[in-house]
Point group: C2
Chain length 402, copies 2
């Protein structure tokens, strides 16, 4: 899914770096910085959790107030959440340092934090790291990948995607990078995603485009049903391609398609890299009475530990699938429901079918599994991605802080 | 919690047996039967899943229609769900045989099934087992425990509780037994519970008493957030103590208290015996604005894989607790929230506190853990039981069918 040439500085006029501040115990990069050479339009979407981190609240306030920014700084290890007034002060302090390093104002720097809740930012270490920004920031692919690695927590693979479209003979590029593998569920997830584009888009329209791209991509990923206090998706648009995206024109349609493609790439990568995951699971519901019914069912299946452990065990236990649909709260008729694993039908009209267990085992042993429910009760559909539930999920999360 | 002398035939006039039909691969008892010597009032509560098993639907129909029964038969291995019309025929057929064995009418026998969905009842084996009912049914404690063992699936311990109250100088006894350790969540759970009493209670009032006892006990247990298609709680009241329970009198208050005590015992036992569980977790929310807010928060925490794996890892990661509260949908102020593990406060006004990690580890290493949230936002409270999430949960559920 990730193209070889996907990286966050691919659109014109972006620089990045990933710095080792010494916060991660393994000595890996732990502070990412993405900068636009010019003032960029900015839009963001945030967790709907009632508890929200201090860095996140600062970013939200700046985007709401100004609609523009010059850079985004992302630290790992501490979520900068549930710290009290000190958390706000800390976020402001590191933003001031980062702004000074690239000679802009603090309110032009967005802040994202991810890590342990209730643990203060290590402000000294971060400031020490920021001292390296000016000399290491670059538009190179290597620097961009360094930034990606600096965002990672329990992620095992980097998650980057890029698309280039042609507008009036001029290439316009959009890139995204994302972190997230646990505490993942719609609205949003323990997930931070940064998009950059050299398209010219005014802030209000950029916000609408962002919501459109996220709704059926990032908001359709579940790893464990938990949503965190730091989830943030931000996009910067600096206009340096010279091409403006205008509502209701081909430019909008082309840009939206590319944006959604990248968001879907990243969403699938997040599900596939779910903590302890051995496989990517895509759940599709068709023939639902309403959109809401379709959504309730895909969410319920993607959240069910019993469905997810069965997939880990390569067990064609469709009874757990129809059970999860049954308690989802959706309106549908179980007696009309068909269920498929990949091409193999295992349930017809809500009843058991005789199927070849070895064929089922073969399908479920793959690293991507499609589960489809056909409800025959209407015309609405939805789909969602999740992963299986393995021993390693428990191992990773049994001792995250220590 | 379980008294040594707790067993389902302890109230007057009940017989039980647990038979080996050869459905369980390990040769353990797999068919339970509980009989009242006299016609008994009956009341039931059932899963709210849209998918409901054939045996369950038959029981519901009989209780709705007659309000009385003579016996309850429970089989394991097959859930008798999602089978089509054959599932109804199979349930009726085994009820006829059981009724003939004790010389009553088929509509006096309730049926409960638990096991794999979409797998037909092994009618031949069950009928073969029923042939042993008449010679093995007895009021002995041993027979009652046999019945308990015959209900068990992934349960590791029997779950039985009894209470005796004094009404007008006459002892009145109520007993309960339950199975259930996975696919457990309120409304109801993959849970079957049978209660017997020798009190005299008319069916409508018995139904009200059952709802009262279940609401804050069985409906406050979560193992994995999944609710099954077979969950059933049934009570029989045969009146053989000669004592009538009358609404609005002391007899009601005494009986309710005893009934709730037994239901709570069994609910706690189910949570403690959750699949793969190493500890029982009790979550209490106090100071919520409304009952609904309190319920949403205890449910959200008890369902969170991240909270449950942290408890398995003995990790005082209260950030995951406040996060789960935050996405529960409850109305509360995170900045007023205090969190405690047992007596140890770890969060005050939504902010991190400095606490002794080794003291926390000591508390979390016990086999019963109390997590308390004080919201300081009102007068409503609730509590719920769950267990931790371990490697063994994944192991048990990765290969349940095979």
């Amino acid at each position: 899914m990730s193209e070889k040439s996907s990286y966050i500085t691919k659109p014109k006029g972006y620089l990045a770096t990933g710095i080792r501040c010494g916060m991660k115990k393994d000595g890996k990069p732990d502070l990412a910085f993405v900068v636009s050479e010019r003032n960029a339009s900015a839009a963001g979407m945030y967790t709907k959790n009632a508890v929200q981190g201090h860095s996140l609240r600062r970013t939200r306030r700046i985007i709401d107030q100004y609609g523009h920014c010059r850079g985004i700084m992302i630290n790992t290890v501490s979520a900068n959440a549930c710290i009290g007034i000190q958390g706000d002060t800390d976020a402001e302090r590191i933003a001031e340092e980062a702004a000074a390093a690239i000679h802009v104002r603090p309110e032009e720097i967005l802040t994202c934090s991810t890590g342990v809740i209730g643990q203060r930012l290590d402000v000294e270490k971060i400031i020490h790291g920021i001292a390296n920004f000016e000399t290491t920031l670059s538009r190179s692919e290597e620097s961009a990948h360094q930034a990606m690695h600096a965002m990672m927590t329990t992620d095992t693979v980097p998650k980057e995607s890029s698309e280039t479209i042609d507008l009036n003979g001029t290439p316009v590029t959009i890139s995204g990078m994302a972190k997230g593998s646990g505490m993942i569920h719609p609205d949003l997830a323990t997930m931070i995603a940064v998009f950059t584009t050299d398209a010219d888009i005014e802030p209000g329209f950029l916000d609408a485009l962002l919501h459109g791209a996220v709704e059926r991509t990032f908001n359709r990923v579940s790893v464990d049903g938990d949503t965190s206090v730091c989830d943030t998706v931000v996009i910067m648009a600096n206009g340096m391609s010279g091409q403006k995206i205008v509502a209701g024109t081909d430019s909008q349609r082309l840009f939206e398609k590319a944006f959604r493609k990248i968001a879907e790439d990243l969403a699938r990568m997040i599900a596939a890299d779910g903590e302890g995951a051995t496989k990517l699971i895509e759940v599709i519901v068709e023939g639902a009475p309403t959109d809401q019914d379709a959504l309730l069912i895909v969410q319920s299946i993607c959240r069910s530990p019993l469905c997810k452990t069965a997939m880990f065990g390569q067990d064609a236990n469709w009874g757990r699938i129809i059970t999860a649909a049954g308690y989802s709260g959706a309106n549908f008729d179980p007696n009309k429901t068909d269920i498929f694993f990949g091409p193999l039908q295992v349930c017809k009209n809500g009843c058991a079918m005789i199927f070849d267990e070895s064929e089922a085992k073969g399908i479920l042993s793959r690293d991507q599994i499609l589960i489809k429910l056909e409800l025959h009760s209407g015309n609405s559909s939805d789909r969602m991605w999740t992963c299986d539930f393995s021993y390693d999920y428990v191992k990773i999360n049994g001792s995250y802080r220590s």
